[in-house]
Structure formats: C-alpha cells, structure tokens
Point group: D2
Chain length 471, copies 4
C-alpha cells in the first residue's frame, strides 16, 4: 500500500484563454508538492489533450507543446518522488475514453481501500494500465449505471474511502471534490471571470488571482458554462485536516485550512521556546524546513538567530556515489555548516520533525565537526510514531525512529547534547485547533478505521455488477 | 474506421536467453511491415516489462534498455505509419493488469466490428486508454468469466470479427492466433529448442532459424514449458489470404501462404507480358515495388531490363516543403531517372499497383522530362476499386483512382502513352490460386459481410454482462 | 567587450582516483558562480578528454559520460549566463593541440586587452573557433618560442592585462594562476594526498577537504608528480580584491580574501543600521541576497527580522511570457510576499545592491500590493555607478540606475518611501579593508588604466613574430 | 595518416532564398558519400552560422534549426564513417574567425602532406581544435600575408599536396577549388539565377537544377555578386580521376568525369562477361554494388539475371552482437538469400570489388547454405593491391586480401568455386580512358610521389615564417 501513497499538487482552471499557460504557472508555484512528474490536460470542448513527463514543471513543458494545446479549460498535477517508485505510466492526469465521455482526473491523497477496489474491478473484468488510485476512480465512474456524470461521481464516492482531493475534467465541466474529513487542502480562486482551483493559495498569488474560499470537506463543486454549483451529498463527518501541512508541507506564504502557514510555524517555535529550558548562544534553523520555527524560537527565547547552515540552491539529481572518504556526503551536497558561526558555540538546532533520524544525525555530526560546542536539537512537532495513510509519504512504522526508540535513545542515536520535541498540546495551540485536525502520526488516533471499512466496501461494490452472484 | 487500420509485423519467442536480442533482430527484418513505431514486451515469469517508441526498430531500442529487460520469452511489434495518425499511446504491445494476470498483446489486422465492441464495452463500464483494437481484445479477455486464459481467448474470439493475427504473452505462456480466413500470414519457426513466431519467414532467416509451418487459419497455438499445443475451436470457413501480401507487402525472400513471394511476382510480370502487345525499347521497374515483376516481364517479352530509375537509399523524414520551383519534389527525394538510360527510349514502366495515381503521375512526368519518347505504364495487379477492411491501409473508395475513373481516364490523368493492368485471372494464375485468396480490393467481393455480422455480434456480446437487459 | 565578460567558477584536482567525481562535486558547490554551462577536462597522462554542455552541472554530466573519462587529474568550469549570450562553442574548458602539447584551460575573469590581443593574433595568422578570452591564452602559449610550458606561461602573462584566474591542465601538470591584483579568488586545498584548487572554499567543504591557503596575487603554482612549486615572476602591484565577491557573489559559507563572507555581510547590515534613522516594524530581506545583511541590521536596530518574502526554490527556465493581466509576473515566479506578515507594516527591505532598478521596483510594488504601510529600501553597498571590467557581468553605465539618477530620483523610480545605501567607508569597515579592495564600481577608481596599457601591449606583442617588421 | 582520410560529399549555393533548404536537399542526395556526420554553414553577409551533427542529414537538421539560419548563400558537407573514428569535433564545415574574415570550409579528399603541414603550423604557434585537414587549410589561409582572400587561397594551395575539392564560404563569396589531378569530382550547376556546386550531379537532379560543367582540375572558381570568375593559377599536370568513383562510389545516375556512371558499370559487366568462360544458370548481383555490372554481364552472356539476394532497406545502427549461434549475422542484417532462386543453381555472383574478403566469404557461405550448387564470384574491377591516399577510406595494404594472397588463395579463402576479376585493360576500356584516370589501388602507380613532395613542401613552408631560420 505504501507505494501508492502520493503527495501531490492539483491545479484547475475553467474558461480562460491559453489555459496551459495559467496551469503552468500554477503548477510552478506548487512544485514543492511534487517534483517527480508533472502533467497537464486541456479540453477544447471536444477532445482532451494531455502532456505528461518525469521531472520538474519547467523541464516537462516546452513552448511547442503548449502551442499544440488549444482549449479553454484544463487541469494539472505535480507528483512527489518516492524513492525508486517513479513510473512514467503513473504520471497524472489519467485520461480515458468512457461512457461518460472523455475524462481526465488528478488526485491528491490516498485511498485506504484502493487495493480492495482494484481487486474487485479486476475480478469483474476491468484492465489496468497504471498502478494509481486515479485509474480506479475512472473505472468506477465508467461502471456507474448513472446517466449523468454528476450522479456517477456521487455513486463512485460511496465506494472510495480515504483522503482525496480530485479534479475531474470533462469536455464541458470541471469538478472539484474533497473528502468529508478534509485531509488535504483545496481552494477556490478567481482570475478575472474565471474560476481557479489549487491545492494551495500560493498558486493564486503568482497569477494575481483572488482567493475566494476553500472547497468544503465533502463538497462536490461543479464549474460549467452555467457557472458554479455546489453539492454536499454525504452526511457530515468529523474533520481531519492534516496538521503536517502546517508543520512542513505547505508553502509558508499559503493560507491553508483557514490558517496562515508562516504564523502557525512561528507560533510552534515560540511555544517550543516556552517549553524549553536550555541555555545556548545561537538558534540555527535547518534550512528551509526549520526557518520560521527558528525565528519564533529566537524571538521568544531572545537567543540570537543565525544562518549557521547554508543550503545549496542548485540541487539536481546527482549520480555520484557517496564515498567513505567523504563523510556525511549525502547531506553535504545540500547543506554546509558555516564554520565561523558554528565554532565554539552552544547551538539550538531547529527542524520541523525527525522521520528516520539519519539525516538529523548527519547534520548534527557536521555541526560538531565544524566546531560546535553543544548541539541541542529541537523539533517543532511531537515524536512521529505512526505512518500516514492519508497521502503523505511516510515510511513504515518500523522505520520511524520515534516509534521504535525512546527519546533518550533518539538523542543517543542522533548524537546531540539534548533533544526536545514540541508537545502535542503546544502543537494544537499553535494552530488554534478546535478539534479539526488529524494528528494520527503523533497519536495513532486514525480518523478512518480502515479494516472495518473494508468489509462494508466489498458489499457495496457488489452492486456494480450483479451478474457476479451467478458466476 | 479507417484510422484504426494497422499494417504491422509480429514476432514472438519462447524460452530463449536474451529474448530482447532475438526479438530485435526479428523486428529488424520485419521493418518493411511498419516503420511508425516499435515495441517489445518481455516476461521474466513474474512481471512483463515493455519498451515502446516512435520510429524504426534500430532507433527505438538501445543497449541500456535491453540490459534492463530480463526474461526468457517475449513478443514484439512494428507498426505502419499512416499519415498523421501516429499516436505514441497506440504503440504496441498493449499491456494490462487483468484478472487473467499480466498480459501483453500484439495485433496485425483489423477488426471489422471493433467500433461496436468498443461501444458495448464502454457502455458497460470499460475505460479506454488507447484507440487500438488491441485494447478491445484485452478488455474482452478480462471480461470473460472463464477461469483459464485459454477459455477466455476462445470466448473472446467468438465476439471479434475481422482479420487478425494475435500474439498474447502471459507470464508463463505465449499464444499465437490467426483468424479463420487466414487474411494475414503468421508462421512458426524453431531456433535450437525454442519456438519462434513471425509474420514472415524472412524473420527466421536472419536468425538462421528453421521454418516449421504456418499457423493455420482459425488455429490457437499455445507455447508453454510443457511444449506446444494447438486447438482449432471454430468451424472451418472459407480461406481469404490477402493477395496483396504477394503483390506488394511481403518481402520477396519470404515464403507466404505456401508461396515464394518472388516467384509469384515474377510470374505476375510474365503473364502481364503475355497480356501485353506494346512494343518498347526497355523495361524499367519502379524500385523496389516493381523489381521482380519487371524482371519477369523482361524475360517473357525479351525487351531489355534496365534500371532507369534510381532510389535514394538514405530516405529519412524530411521537413523540407516541396516548392513550386522544384517540380515533382515529393518523388524526387526518393527516385531519380537515369537520364542516359531514359533519353529517346520507348519505356515500359512496371509497378505493382496504382492507389491514388498521384505518385505514378509524378514518376511518368519525371521520365518524360528526362527525355523518354514513350512511357507505357504496366501494373502487376488489376485496378484497385475497393478499400481493404482487413488490415491494409488503403484510402477510402472515393480516393482510389480506379474506383472513380475509367482506364482511359486514368491513362489521361497519369499522362502516359498507354496503361495496362494485369487481369484478375492472370493474377490468380500467377499465385496458383485454388480459391484461397481474398481479392476484394479488385472485385468488391468482401469475404466478411460486416453489416450482417454486426447484428450477430451484438447479441453475442450481451452474454458478457446480462445486467444490460435491465438497464 | 561587454559580451566577453564571464563570471565563472573554477575547480582542479591532481593525482586522485576518479577525478571526474571529485570535480563534479566541486563544481556542484560552485554552481552559484555560473549556471549557463559546465565542463570538465581529464587527463590520463597521454590524452585530454573533455565533456561540456549547456545547463547545470547535474544536467550536463551523466554516469555514462564519467565512466568513459579515465585519468587522475583534471579541471572543471561553471559559467555564468548572460542574457542571450550563451553559445555552446564558448563553454569551457577550451582544449587544443599545440606545440606545448595537449592543453586544457579554464578562466575566471576578464582580460581588458583581449580585443587587441585577438586582433594581433588574427592579423598574424591565428584562427579562432570561439569568442572567449581563453582561446586567446592558448594561442599566446602556442606562439611562445619558449621550450618549456612554464616559460611560455610567463611570457604569455606579460601580454595579458586584466582580471584572471587560470587553471591549465597538461598531460603531466596542473597550473594555477592568479593575476597580480588578485581580482578573483582562487584557493588551494588538500584532500588526503591530493591538491585541489577552487574558486571558493565551499568546494573544499563538500569534499571534507582541507583549506591550505589562497593562491597569491601574481603567483603561478605548478602541481606535478614532483609536488608543488610556486613562482612569483612579476613585480608586486597594488591589490584589488573584488569587494563584490563579499557583498553578493561568493557563497556565505566561503572564506574569501581572508574574510568569512557571512561575517562581512552581517557587518554590512549592522553598519547600515547604524547609518540609518528610519523607524519601522520589521526587517525583511530580499531572499537570498539580503539575508545576512538583514540579520545584521535587525540585530543592531532591534527591529524584528521577518521572512516577509518567500522564494520559490524550484525555479527553472520558463517560456511563459508575462502577461499584462499578471502584474509583476517576472518577479512573482521567484518571490511571493507573505501577506499576513506584510499587511499594515512599516517595512525595512534589505538587499545587497541595485543594478538597473527594475527588479527592486517590482518587489516594492508587490509589497505595497500586499498591504505594506511603508517600504524603506536599504542596500548593503554604495550606489553602483560604474561597470565592472574585471569579470562581473554588469551592464553598461547607461543602464546602471545610480549612474544616471540621483538618489531621490532612484527612490521615486523604485516607488518606496525612502532609500538608503551603505556608505563606502561603512562598506570598507565591514570588510576590514587595509587598501586591498577594488571598489571601482562604486568609485570609478579603476585599478587598471586600460587605454594606456593598450599601447604598451601592442609593442610587446610584436616580439612574438619579428617577421612582421618586414611585411 | 590513415585516420584522416575522409570520403565526403560537398554542396554549395550562392544567392538563393532559404539556402538551408536547398543545401539540405543537395546533401540528402549526396548521403551515399558520407553517413557519419552532416553540416551546413550559411552566411547572411555579415556572419556565418553553422549547424553540424553526427548521423544522417535527415536526422541532424530540424525545422527549428533552419528557421534560425537566415542568409542567401552557404555550403554543406556529409562525411563518411570510418570505423571507430568519428568525432563530433571533426564534423564539417570548419568555421573560424580569421584575418581574412569569417570563413567556413568543407573538404573532400586527402592531403598527403597534412602531417607535415600541421607539424609546421603547430611548431610555429598554431593551435588545433580538430584533427582534420580542413583546419590546416584555414590556418594556412590565415597565415598568408596576402591581403585578398583570393591570393591567400593561391598561396595556400602551393603548400598543400594531395587530393582535394574545397568549398570556401566567406561573407560575400563562395570559392570552389579542385586539385590539379582532379582526383575527386566537383560539378557546377545552375538553379534559376543561382550557381550550385556539388560533388555529384545527382544533387542537381533533386533540385531540377541544370548541370553546367565540371570544375576543372586546378581551377579556382569564385562566385560573388559580380558573377562567376575562374582562374587556373598552376601549371597543368597529369590528370588522375579516381576510377573507383565510377566502379563503386558515385551514384549510378550521376554524370562524373564526363561519364555516365551507370553506362560505365554496365560496360564493366559486359567486358567481364567477355573475359569469362564459366557456364552458369543465373547471374546474381550483390545489391546494390553489383547491380549494373550484373545487368551488363547478363546481357552479354545471355545468362538470366536474378535477384537472388535481397537487401534490408531499413538498416540502422544495431548494437546487437553477432552470436556464434547465428552464423554470418553481420551480413544477414543486410542481405538475405532468396532460397527458391538459389537452390540447386550454378550462380555467377557479381560484386564491384573485394577489399578484405570477409564480407564476400560470408555472402558466398550464405549462398551455399541456401542450396547453391556452384558459386562463381566475379568482380567488376581488378584485384585491389594498394591503399588509396587520395580520399577513399581503404585499409592498410596488410589488410587488402589481393595484396597478400594470390588469386587461387583468395578463391580458397572466399570458398567459392571460381573467382574472376575484370582486367585492368577491361576496366580502362569500360570507362573509355584516355590516360586520365588514377588506378593506383590496382597498379601501385601513385600519381603523387609524396615522399619527394614532402621535402619540397617543407622548403616552401618556410616562407611563411622566415624567423624559423633563426630559432
């Protein structure tokens, strides 16, 4: 299941000239949500054209490609690179000819019952060209006996469980869909007279577009030539906004789940400082993940903020293998300690979280080698003890250091003088939580009980093809 | 329908080391059957890997690609380039995950009921990633309730009507299938202890492999670790070997439908000479399509054979637009008249056939400009009056010159002194026909009455999904 | 002359296994010094192989390329992209077969008499394949009548005037050369038993190599199997270290001209604060050029430091044209104001310098549009009034805003509430200058009087080919 | 020296719109003269732009490249692939900035004193970017003290010895130059009001251009806006037209050295038949090198001509290694025997020549394996006993089978029943020789005594740089 997790960015636009240009810029500003592949699908009202490729947005799309893409609406997608898992065939949008017409779909999230859905679809005669959740959705839409695509979408959503934001493009409509928990963000904007949809509001800023509101959890929004229409076809459920979007993933200038990301991060740093008792000379962020929290920490603690680690901004894929002769190579191509800042100092090192611990260990080692007197590691989130099943690519629990070691053991592994995590309450306070957030990765309190769901799902599925009963 | 016609070459091999190398060479020798795209799928017993691309075999496959393709069996495909119709997504093999396992399929031919099949499949919930007949077949295989792939193949073949040779690769078997009419050729060979399948026997020669026999019309041949097994699940039908394979498409060194291609072509030329009464100085073939017939004509007529047209062997795609200043440019990049041979001569110009007439007109014009005194055009086949629905990319009837103009009018259009076609009887004699050949393009006598078939097909199809009745 | 200016990064290594890997990492960390093209030359003792290409280091070099590059010493180069000026043929290293053997050369700097040198060389029969200074040097080396390459280098350096660091690779030696003024940095390091040369010390850090010392102004350092040898063949001259390396170009973690870059920048910010009298709510850096100065300013002024502008880290080449509908597009693809930080605030905006003023104007406009109450622009260097002739790609004087407008006019053009430049003395204090720095771009006080030099140069040149006298 | 031999095709045009299109088509029809690399240089009157690449003409040039190449005159080049010797840097045209202006040069032939010239040039300070003769010529032009390029060309030609056709492009002129022996062909044509130059007349035919005349041996033809001007600055010398152009290299539809190539080849076949006494069933050409000679042989001998070997027209680079299991693989990817034609027959196999003998051996073996009863090999040229020093890439004498084995031994090596070469007198008769041809590869009678020349050359060269005497 792990290999189907996809952390992604979505963008859609309806009724503009040159939609490919607009989508390009939108995806460009969402690049941090996925660097593995990028894709665009455009409809001219009759046919959907698409272009996809491995790599960054600016590498995948060329002028000549865009000149061929005529139309006035479209969707785009950037996808996260999980190590060794990148297949060109899995790039989105996924496009298909169906009885509901020519469809293109992009997805951000993770369906917890996709294995079961796929198994049932295959059993009853569907063939799969990819290994993505997105293809599953298109199969379900096509299987629906409903005449109208709107009804088929509602029927399909009855079967799928998990975290999802979908944009679905037809030749005359654009659908924006967000699951009832609201795990992933999806916002609505307006550019002149055109509606825009994007995973984060930073995609509106690059276009000088106006943020209107978030797509509601459980909402199906339809954009067509007749305007915008919203339906909420399901009973409301508990909210479960991904708190990790605020801790790490979203861009600091985005407005996500009704919060300014940078304000939340600065607050995390301040509360972390209040919960801290360590004396030190300087506060050093791990760039760029620890920047805002470090600033908050420095402000609250009155310990000077220093750029003690520089980041190489020209990181590209390097095939050069780390050699034993070059210690901590893997980190050094990205980060370099600024010796004169580090030397002889007691350092508070701020990062957002620790996953496996190996990178933190390398950074700490680098700092000691650069002359640090003490390194006190501080994280702007609690210990991560559980994997995410809702669309963030975290490893198995067996690889999560905090799920396997005690905090003193983590400190020992990392090799720092002390280690401190932000408390869960501190985290919730920093985002002004009113019981809307999913914190499962810190608490094991998963919003979807997916084994229970699985049984129910199978029963529902049988409705698709009653002939099974007799086979 | 026209745009789904595919003239192609197939190759398959079971139980060899480095199947990709063997398939490469096989496809290389079948390149004349399709220059648009090439593809290979290899199974290692667990997974099917594939590599496809636009262009010639030698351009698509690289050493590094092949190093990654491990396995001991596989199939390959080359596909014909129809103007403006080449989509990367349509390149074969088509691969899918299905309830019958991981499948790869290649196809040569044309299904006359593919539109209906596809429509029914879409109507009942299938989604299509390509516009190929081959994807239709995979859907039908997946839809079959049969447990065994063998049974699913038989069931599927009940639904499809038309001309087809299929190779289907699973993780443990290789199937070779030829329709009951036998429209397209498919031969079985042996390389040491391994079975090989190829559209033409010239693919055996390049490998020093031994020709065993043709796959019979209506035969399903299964190659597995248990050896070879053949079934003939359908009632025998009239044979309808494509006579155009012998006239033009197959390589002259191939042995097709029990005939040596070159012998048939020489015979066509000889009979054409017997049916001719023109006096001339030299016999000139249009290279390379008229070579063997011209040789036969020269031998029979005692008129000297001369290479009066040279062919540029380094033809590649050129983007240079013909200019008005350069008359007959389109032909000149391929052919050049040898002035000293042509000048002052009465010429018998031999080609295999005339489709639209525009190329013949340009060649004849070139010969006159080079000083020919007379040009007598002779074709080694009868006037082409009907399109092919069985896998050869001929244009609509409205574009076939012989379907629209009388022979004197054709002569006038081409601008030659006289024109002569081989008689139908002469053609049949030259291939020693015993009522086995399809000559529909010359006679309108189509072996499959596809409108009648269409009705029957729909009824059969309903068996797949009985729930249709109620929808 | 302007189009020959090259801002670049150099790297060299002698006597290592797999020099291509080491050079790759070195260039990777020097990528900020040039993103237009990258190249590597390796000697195996008999032949020099090279690989060059347009683009980033990680794009140009592939594993398969490196497998072919065998040897134990080599040099590398990254080159700056000047708008519209990037020719593949100009990528370095430049390689030639000469009477001094097979030579490869890389260059950082700018020769002020290259036009004259080239003219003389052409006049006396040299042919040029590129438009680079580097090819001129190779011609002069080849023209030298000296038997030994060492002598030829000294002779050549007599002719060239300007700013230069060269690395020259032969099949058995590596030369590192720095002009007598010391305009550009060049440092010597050691990795185990191998000597390394790099434009900046950050290239040593990525390799865990040790910084030894700078190549002295006027020094010719020879590295061979016999070890290291240094000569200073010219009379000492005034030093003229480029102060702009400390203000902007060098990486903050580098140690350049005996100064830690980050310390110098923080000091600039502090002195700027002392020279300032503006009251404001927050200090906001233009990322990343204003980061350290802003930190210094905030510390000194006690005004809170805030990341009010975010930078898109995934900048690639975009072909999307700014539209009028998207104001300040050119800047928006790189920077986005963080509205909640900016809104209603009196902002001190810190950058390193203003060249043309157009980018600053766009940033200031963005800040006002994001709700800033006041924007006070502050620069950590004095007004730039003169172009650099010594290797930094600055535009003509007519395009330098401070050369053409008064400070109040600049403020008006930029559209900010106030503008303040660091004083020249403040700048010199921040780098602890003892009369070693070139500040010509701020003072018009150019260290090389190149028109005078030109005459002398011509006379010297005649010595190369005495036969001229008689022609 | 061997590695500098280049067999090539040249094309030039002056005063046309879109010269790149015209040159493209010209090179396209000269592709048989070189498949390794292709290049075009265009002048717009101010600057020379060029585009070069490895591979076929149709692969190297793209529409977008041509859109950038504006101008009204240009030259082009195709180059032969000598095994393992193809360097991108060596692709032509070679372009340089010189004191004679911006120059581009293409070359067909081989300078016998290029090593000496290059040595002298290097010794006196020239640097070389390539290993081509062409760069040497540009150096000599640049070294000339002459003011006018015309005089510099004459001076340069005094130094060079060997076989050459040059086209030299400046910003206002196009020069066509042929050595005094006339080793290589070079023809002048006219397209409307524009002059064209091409290695073979088939390049005129593709453009519907008119053949005017050959460039004379020793002629320097200048094309400029003032029209055409011809000078013959050297004393006439013996002619030495390469007879191998007529035997093998030139296209059969070209008119070369005043002869129609196809007529010459048919005549070779006829005379070969007259000199033959073997009885056989069929005459089989090795396609395409033996086609015309076989036709002549068949006509004269009255033995039927048959296409007993088919050629794969889609030959591309294949990386597949011949395996032991596939005998004669190397040949089989190109040629396949037509079994039904070969079986049981006594065959006369016609080819143009035998170089190493390995390919002939494979073809003969294939024929026996295909069932041939007897194979009598016949060559339309005498035994090749000496390498060519004048521009055809033949191997060292030690590799030429006829230089090392007697004819009975060759027969034994090839494994055929008999072998027969055309007599020298027969060859000369077939081309109507009046003592104009070079037959050195068959006679060892080399027109240029290059060791003697070498001495004289050195003396001449000294004039360039009298200062040598004193160095």
């Amino acid at each position: 299941m792990c290999n189907k997790k996809e952390y992604c960015g979505l963008f859609g636009v309806f009724n503009v000239e040159k939609p490919s240009d607009i989508i390009f810029l939108g995806l460009y500003s969402l690049q941090h949500r996925g660097q593995e592949s990028a894709g665009i699908a455009i409809s001219d009202g009759t046919t959907i054209y698409s272009e996809k490729g491995m790599g960054h947005v600016a590498d995948v799309f060329t002028k000549s490609v865009f000149e061929k893409m005529q139309g006035n609406k479209g969707i785009g997608h950037v996808r996260y690179s999980t190590a060794g898992e990148s297949l060109p065939a899995n790039a989105q949008p996924i496009i298909a000819h169906t009885n509901k017409g020519h469809l293109a779909l992009v997805h951000n999230g993770n369906l917890v019952n996709s294995v079961e859905l796929r198994h049932d679809l295959e059993r009853t005669g569907s063939i799969f060209a990819t290994t993505t959740d997105s293809e599953t959705i298109l199969h379900l839409l096509a299987r629906s006996k409903a005449d109208r695509i709107e009804e088929a979408i509602i029927e399909t959503l009855h079967y799928v469980k998990g975290a999802y934001c979908f944009l679905i493009l037809t030749n005359d409509k654009l659908f924006a869909i967000r699951d009832g928990y609201g795990f992933r963000p999806l916002s609505l904007g307006k550019l002149h007279n055109s509606y825009i949809l994007a995973s984060e509001t930073c995609a509106f800023d690059i276009l000088d577009a106006k943020y209107i509101r978030d797509i509601e959890p459980g909402e199906i929004l339809t954009v067509s030539n007749e305007g915008m229409q919203s339906i909420m076809p399901f009973a409301p459920t508990q909210k479960a906004y991904c708190i990790f979007e605020l801790i790490y993933f979203a861009r600091p200038d985005s407005y996500v789940f009704g919060r300014n990301v940078n304000i939340a991060r600065i607050a995390m740093g301040k509360i972390l400082a209040r919960e801290s008792s360590v004396k030190a000379d300087i506060v050093v962020p791990v760039p760029d993940s620890g920047l805002y929290a470090a600033l908050g920490f420095a402000e609250e603690s009155k310990i000077p903020f220093q750029f003690g680690l520089t980041r190489n901004h020209y990181i590209g894929r390097t095939f050069i293998q780390p050699k034993q002769s070059v210690r901590s190579m893997g980190v050094k191509v990205k980060l370099n300690p600024v010796k004169n800042i580090i030397q002889g100092k007691k350092i508070i090192l701020i990062d957002d979280s620790i996953v496996r611990g190996t990178t933190s260990k390398k950074i700490v080692t680098m700092l000691y080698e650069a002359g640090a007197k003490e390194v006190h590691m501080k994280l702007s989130s609690p210990p991560m003890i559980g994997p995410c099943y809702y669309g963030i690519d975290t490893p198995f629990e067996s690889e999560l250091i905090a799920a396997n070691l005690s905090i003193p053991e983590i400190r020992q592994f990392i090799g720092c003088d002390s280690i401190q995590y932000l408390s869960l309450q501190g985290l919730l306070d920093s985002v002004n939580d009113t019981n809307e957030f999913c914190t499962a990765c810190f608490t094991h309190n998963y919003p979807i009980k997916h084994h229970m769901q699985q049984f129910q799902q199978l029963r529902l599925f049988e409705k698709i093809d009653p002939s099974h009963d007799h086979s």
